[in-house]
């Protein structure tokens, strides 16, 4: 009866608070690395948006018609092209590099895909104006740290290189490319080998091994051996080698898996690309990579890299792992059994000024009823007042989780938040 469109979510307070916490930790991590938040519109003209959009995503854009003009409007399906456009237009004269971050929903229609999210909450960054491996390493390290700050410690970052794949695809008979791309995307060894029969040496030998070129640092050595004498390809391996040693400097090399045949990603990606996975979660948590040509579509040619994290995917991973959640939202429920409410209102006002979250129990009920209510709504403490306590300038404090009671002088409650309760 109150049906929702497929793939959208309603989150009651606890879920909403958790999502907000994940979102904030991610965003604050990015900001602590010097990234500044930008805001982009939730919807835009479709034709403008399409300039920066990959083909596959175009079919999955939610479209509306603008009343007065009849022009098509699209809900943003991806932040990166929007941020790239900001960098190339309003911020084109700002000093480089630009370190920008964002947070919000992206909308992708998912035909035939059950209950998968159509509204995805993403937090991400774009680092614009740098073409160095240091920049890619910073992206990987920052993605890693943001997850660690959420105490999500079992993650793997799979790194590939679109330039490497493109160089190989450029060297083989072009009519085989679409088929080969499909086979590589599926990591289909059987099909890749089948296609290889039609590829002349030396590329046949390279391609045959390509789907197996993933794993730790050894992969780079294996690839190097295979590609001896192919200078244009070795350049990309050198780049990955440098990247690997920088990620190692961050102490994160053991988190990195190199995957040289990975071609899934956005079409605008050009160099290093990566995806973040955690064990036990079938789907990726996020990903990103280099997109050195995207800004040119908006009028300023310059290198860029970035990544985005899917907030709800991280949330699900934390839920699955039984992760630690931030303490409850509301600190006090103030229950006043006396008739004159002035003292209670005054106490609530002063506590709020000190940073505490205070709700007043307005309904008439007994103490047990108030306690039940507080427990069920994640309120930490009950403050109980009555005529007798008021005369003594004391309050009764009940811990809602443990049920412990203490009597306390009212003044002692009035400490700034961050004091003795947390």
């Amino acid at each position: 009866m109150f049906q929702l469109p497929r793939g959208v979510k309603v989150l009651p307070p606890r879920g909403a608070q958790r999502r907000e916490w994940v979102r904030r930790v991610l965003l604050e991590t990015f900001q602590s690395w010097g990234f500044q938040k930008v805001v982009t519109p939730t919807f835009e003209y479709l034709d403008i948006l399409l300039k920066g959009l990959e083909e596959g995503l175009e079919d999955r854009v939610y479209k509306l018609v603008e009343r007065e003009t009849g022009r098509l409007i699209a809900l943003r399906p991806d932040f990166t092209p929007q941020v790239a456009r900001i960098a190339a237009t309003v911020m084109k004269d700002y000093p480089r590099p630009l370190r920008l971050c964002y947070s919000g929903g992206v909308f992708r229609y998912m035909p035939d895909r059950g209950e998968e999210e159509t509204e995805l909450h993403q937090v991400g960054v774009e680092l614009i104006g740098l073409d160095l491996p240091e920049a890619d390493a910073e992206m990987i390290a920052m993605a890693a740290r943001s997850l660690e700050n959420l105490e999500l410690t079992h993650y793997t970052i799979a790194v590939g290189h679109m330039g490497f794949i493109a160089a190989i695809l450029g060297a083989i008979p072009q009519h085989l490319v679409p088929k080969l791309k499909g086979a590589l995307a599926d990591k289909n060894r059987t099909e890749t080998r089948r296609i290889c029969q039609q590829v002349p040496s030396p590329w046949r030998e390279v391609l045959k091994e390509l789907p197996t070129l993933y794993g730790n640092h050894e992969v780079l050595k294996k690839a190097r051996k295979l590609l001896e004498g192919h200078k244009p390809l070795l350049v990309h391996l050198d780049y990955l080698e440098t990247l690997h040693s920088m990620v190692d400097t961050y102490g994160l090399a053991h988190r990195m898996v190199i995957d040289l045949s990975e071609i899934r990603g956005f079409q605008y990606h050009t160099g290093v690309v990566f995806e973040i996975f955690t064990e036990g979660m079938g789907k990726k948590l996020g990903g990103g990579g280099r997109y050195d040509w995207l800004l040119e579509r908006f009028g300023k040619r310059e290198p860029a890299t970035g990544f985005g994290i899917n907030v709800d995917a991280v949330l699900k991973a934390l839920e699955q792992r039984g992760g630690k959640w931030p303490p409850s939202q509301i600190n006090y429920l103030l229950v006043d059994f006396s008739k004159d409410k002035r003292a209670a209102l005054e106490l609530a006002r002063r506590l709020r000024e000190l940073g505490w979250k205070v709700a007043r129990d307005i309904i008439k009920r007994d103490l047990q009823g108030s306690l039940e209510y507080a427990k069920k709504t994640d309120i930490q403490f009950l403050i109980v007042m009555d005529d007798k306590l008021k005369k003594e300038n004391r309050v009764k404090i009940i811990d809602t989780t443990e049920g412990k009671e203490i009597l306390q002088p009212t003044e002692e409650l009035l400490v700034p938040k961050g004091g003795y309760h947390e």
């Binding site: 793997t156 599926d186 059987t190 794993g215 996975f277 064990e279 036990g280 079938g282 990726k284």
Partner: protein, 216 residues
């Protein structure tokens, strides 16, 4: 979870052929073939856990990461839309998806306005006719598809055949092959990256076994 390979297998013929492949790789799974009602089989000595599911559910279990690997017919993969790796064509479970119609029927696709096609594979059928530019009305059925042309429900059917006997018995003839189907190994994308040290050697082992196996 980290130390085990979780494998989704479909009931029935594919499971038997998969067990044969595993046996060729040196893993004896015969207890699994004897107990037909159990859904989970654990082989700690090989570090395998098998989940026995419906064929159509194999890619779902793997895509969501409830299983790391799965063995499933290509027809199921073609009919759905899954985000999976598909590293190996296992060669067994061979059959074909074909277009069939009543024997001696003359059917001009170009002229016909209301071509009706019955199938258990609406997506594969739609893609097939669309690729030829033929407008078609797809009727989804869940079984006994051969009956549809005999009763006037549809003009043609798109169905899986292995020997073609059922078609002939119902006086139907193949007019076109849509796809050749074999069993595939599918792998969860996340598992391949996060359990790489466990899964990669296994996939390679399976691949070399296929190369030397009488099955393929």
């Amino acid at each position: 979870m980290a130390g085990e390979i979780r494998i989704a297998l479909p009931k029935g013929r594919l499971m038997e052929e998969a067990a044969e492949l595993f046996s060729h790789m040196g893993y004896n799974l015969s207890p699994m073939l004897r107990e037909s009602r159990r859904l989970v089989f654990s082989f700690p000595q090989y570090r395998f856990i098998f989940y026995i599911v419906r064929s159509q559910d194999v890619p779902t279990y793997v895509e969501y990461g409830a299983a790391d690997l799965g063995i499933v017919g290509k027809d199921v993969l073609m009919e759905g839309e899954y985000d999976l790796y598909e590293p190996l064509d296992l060669g067994f479970g061979y059959c074909r998806i074909v277009v069939a119609q009543p024997m001696d029927m003359e059917l001009d696709l170009g002229d016909r306005v209301g071509l009706r096609v019955a199938t258990k594979y609406p997506r594969i059928a739609r893609t097939h006719y669309h690729s030829k530019g033929v407008a078609v009305e797809i009727i989804k059925l869940y079984g006994s598809v051969e009956l549809a042309p005999l009763t006037g429900l549809a003009h043609q059917i798109v169905d899986l055949v292995s020997t073609g006997r059922t078609l002939r018995e119902n006086r139907l003839e193949e007019v076109e092959t849509v796809a050749e189907i074999t069993a595939r190994l599918v792998v969860n994308r996340s598992s391949l990256k996060t359990k790489f040290a466990l899964l990669d050697p296994f996939i390679q082992e399976m691949e070399s076994s296929l190369e030397s196996s009488p099955l393929s």
